[in-house]
């Protein structure tokens, strides 16, 4: 029989591309011969926009990068500016930051779990994960007054202190969440169809993962124990007790296991941060009120943080004015996406969808 290769464009409007990814696929029947991801449909050039804004205003754009883990994005930027402008941060603020960042990691992974279920044709886990995420968002709303774009972590601290009723809600969430997570996991983990769809699919070797600069859960699922929180501790990650889950196989199923386990570890960190939080100031008064436009720095600094998708870095260059000269963003999912062809070549269309969903790209951040 004669082989006929057809070109199919998956996306930019497609139910399972997590936004506006377009994948140009060459298909032989249902087998993928070549897959070329094309990005840029959500490009806003946040790097250029940042250049004529004051330092605190740029944090607003960071919120819009990875719109499911906004606190992590803000933290990356704020740490870079704090290094640049030599800002002192009170201890309590750092603990609060750690807590919200870890809670946000859970929220982000929950979104991922739900949408991965949708990609595989399961409708129900999506509702359960979003129910849990809603609780986290309500906690965040209690803290910052916004539901999605928080603008909570500020240069020199955090904007508002933890309110009184937060403790009860947080402890309620802390006690209930592991049970709910087990429930959600039981829908996936032992399901034979799910295992068939995930085991051995989308294999990424550790060498290739390193060559593609992949970080985060995708790298750890390939068996490399690399986490910025352990390797280059920032905030107080060296003072809390947690583990970095890894898996050996490098396939979709390992990525699933790693992320599921990471949620449990994050909850552990958030609880420790909440317990270890000292009383005291939660912001540096020098950089509040009119101090917002007095943040100045000369030189360059690069901050490395572990976002839910991997290493999120912000490279800020200041020229001594109160506006940054250049802001450069390293987005983790960008690199995970660049290895798509490596993972999906030779597999079926359905496998490509599953693989793309385990990479967990968020296009606000990939396209910037």
């Amino acid at each position: 029989m004669e082989e006929r290769i057809i070109d199919v464009n998956f996306g930019p409007q497609h139910p399972s591309t997590h936004g506006v990814l377009r994948v140009k696929v060459k298909l032989n029947g249902e087998t993928i011969v070549n897959a070329e991801p094309i990005i840029g449909y959500l490009h806003r050039n946040a790097e250029k926009l940042s250049e004529d804004k004051f330092y605190p205003s740029v944090a607003i754009f960071m919120d819009r990068l990875d719109y499911v883990s906004n606190h992590n994005m803000e933290l990356g930027y704020v740490l870079a500016v704090e290094k640049l402008a030599e800002v002192q941060v009170p201890e309590r603020a750092n603990w609060i930051r750690m807590m919200v960042v870890e809670l946000n990691r859970i929220a982000s992974h929950l979104v991922w779990a739900g949408t991965m279920g949708l990609d595989l044709g399961m409708i129900t886990p999506f509702f359960y994960t979003f129910r849990e995420r809603e609780k986290i968002i309500q906690l965040f709303e209690m803290l910052s007054g916004a539901r999605l774009t928080y603008n909570y972590i500020s240069i020199g601290g955090v904007y508002k202190d933890i309110p009184g009723e937060f403790k009860d809600k947080f402890l309620e969430f802390y006690n209930e969440f592991p049970k709910r997570l087990d429930e959600i996991q039981s829908l996936f983990m032992e399901n034979e169809i799910f295992i068939q769809r995930m085991k051995g699919i989308g294999y990424l070797s550790p060498e290739k993962a390193m060559s593609y600069s992949i970080t985060g859960p995708v790298l750890r699922a390939s068996g490399i124990k690399y986490d910025i929180r352990k390797n280059f501790p920032y905030l107080y990650y060296d003072k809390v007790d947690f583990e970095i889950p890894t898996a050996k196989d490098g396939d979709n199923f390992s990525r699933f296991i790693v992320r599921m386990e990471e949620m449990r570890q994050s909850l552990k960190i958030a609880k420790q941060a909440f317990d270890k939080m000292p009383e005291g100031e939660y912001f540096n008064p020098l950089y509040r009120k009119q101090g917002l436009i007095k943040i100045k720095g000369k030189g360059e600094s690069y901050s490395r943080t572990e976002s839910p998708r991997g290493e999120f870095g912000v490279y800020v260059i200041g020229d001594g004015t109160s506006k940054p000269y250049r802001v450069r963003i390293r987005s983790p999912a960008f690199h995970a996406l660049s290895a798509t062809n490596e993972m999906v070549k030779g597999s079926k269309i359905a496998d490509m969808i599953a693989t793309l969903s385990t990479l967990d790209p968020v296009f606000g951040e990939v396209d910037r």
């Binding site: 990005i39 840029g40 490009h43 050039n45 790097e47 250029k48 870079a80 290094k83 640049l84 290739k208 390193m210 060559s211 593609y212 600069s213 992949i214 490399i224 690399y226 390797n231 280059f232 720095g297 000369k298 030189g299 360059e300 600094s301 690069y302 901050s303 490395r304 290493e311 870095g313 490279y315 260059i317 000269y325 250049r326 450069r328 390293r330 960008f334 690199h335 660049s338 290895a339 396209d367 910037r368």
Partner: protein, 150 residues
């Protein structure tokens, strides 16, 4: 050849090298354990442009910054050393207009083909709006006329 050595504000070491020794330096650094290309960025300092490589390691806790100033905006490509340099270099070409010789697929990555100018340059003309349309054969076309195309 190392022109300048120093420390950045965040405490990392940086070296400024010349364009000819870039590939040699990068591959020798990779042999020394810097096997992780964290970030490639380009900065427009008006008088000259600078390409910055952040290198780190997956096994050890170290980081180094390599800077190079390309005259006439061309640099040798680092794709043989790291696969991730592929998209990094496409991005730098797209937004800063730095051409990498030896790159397998040097196309714009974010903006449509045919876009006029490179937005991250400091002399980019922000006053003109550009409109993107699709030709009949599926390629992109850019024009300054808002009424053009559909």
């Amino acid at each position: 050849m190392i022109i300048e050595k120093g420390k950045n504000k965040d405490g990392t070491d940086y070296i400024l090298i010349d364009k000819e020794s870039l590939i040699d330096t990068l591959s020798s650094l990779k042999r020394d354990g810097y096997n992780y290309l964290v970030l490639m960025s380009a900065v427009d300092y008006k008088k000259y442009r600078e390409v910055v490589y952040h290198l780190s390691s997956y096994n050890e806790n170290k980081i180094i910054v390599v800077k190079v100033r390309p005259e006439d905006d061309t640099l040798p490509s680092a794709t043989p050393i790291w696969d991730s340099a592929n998209w990094f270099e496409r991005e730098l070409y797209d937004l800063m207009g730095i051409k990498f010789t030896g790159h397998p697929n040097l196309k714009r990555i974010f903006l449509p083909e045919g876009w006029v100018g490179h937005p991250l340059r400091k002399d980019y003309d922000l006053s003109k709006e550009q409109f993107v349309n699709m030709n009949d054969d599926g390629t992109d076309r850019v024009s300054f006329d808002p009424k053009d195309g559909w």
